[in-house]
Point group: C2
Chain length 129, copies 2
């Protein structure tokens, strides 16, 4: 045990991580309530998965209160990057540009976000033009 950071979360684990990333350290009750805004899932199911995540060192648990408080140990950006790599590989055969084109083409993006992306493009191309 005591596995290193690069552990790929499953779907259920990722949903829980999202709640923890967005809201900070939380109880099982809170996480389960959040999840139930989207889909029905039993309390003990959420509890169980969070217990497993604790064993895998994906989260840390503060047991000083009766209701344990869980905190994400996996970093959001690093985890996203890792999942992105795999997704890029399996779905787009590694072509980042094709993924980007698809993502931009079929999803709502605000002008501000587009500008951010444009700036990044400028940097990547060497700044000029």
């Amino acid at each position: 045990m005591a596995a290193a950071q690069p552990l790929k979360p499953t779907d259920a684990e990722l949903e829980i991580l999202q709640v923890l990333w967005q809201n900070g350290p939380s109880t099982v009750r809170f996480v389960n309530d959040e999840l139930n805004k989207t889909k029905e899932v039993g309390y003990t199911t959420t509890l169980k998965i969070m217990q497993l995540m604790t064993e895998k060192n994906m989260v840390r648990r503060d047991e000083s209160n009766r209701s344990h408080v869980y905190e994400a140990l996996l970093k959001e950006e690093a985890t996203q990057k890792q999942l992105l790599n795999k997704f890029l590989d399996t779905t787009f055969r590694g072509s980042a540009s094709r993924l980007v084109m698809q993502a931009l083409g079929s999803h709502q993006t605000t002008p501000e976000e587009l500008n951010q992306i444009r700036e990044l493009l400028n940097k990547l191309e060497g700044g000029s033009k």
Copy 2:
């Protein structure tokens, strides 16, 4: 049976679809050989999954020859779009721009591809500037 197009392929199915998309209609033997360039997988395993895919109408099978020839029915772009939607949701909470930034930031992209993306940005922003 006779399910509609929007069927989410599993990982193993996606690997097979990639081979079919890249090489056109192929036999199990060919697909299995391709897969084995990357990872070890038994012939009957590949066969079985392709048979299941046939039942799900993900592929069509030409049985006129002894070695059946399988052809992808799912369209590459449509499938990618569908998987992208889900991935975007679960991993980036729906923020396409964050995904794009990550993808561009940490992956090799050629100047030509960057230009393609820039053109798309222009179109999305209303053409000017």
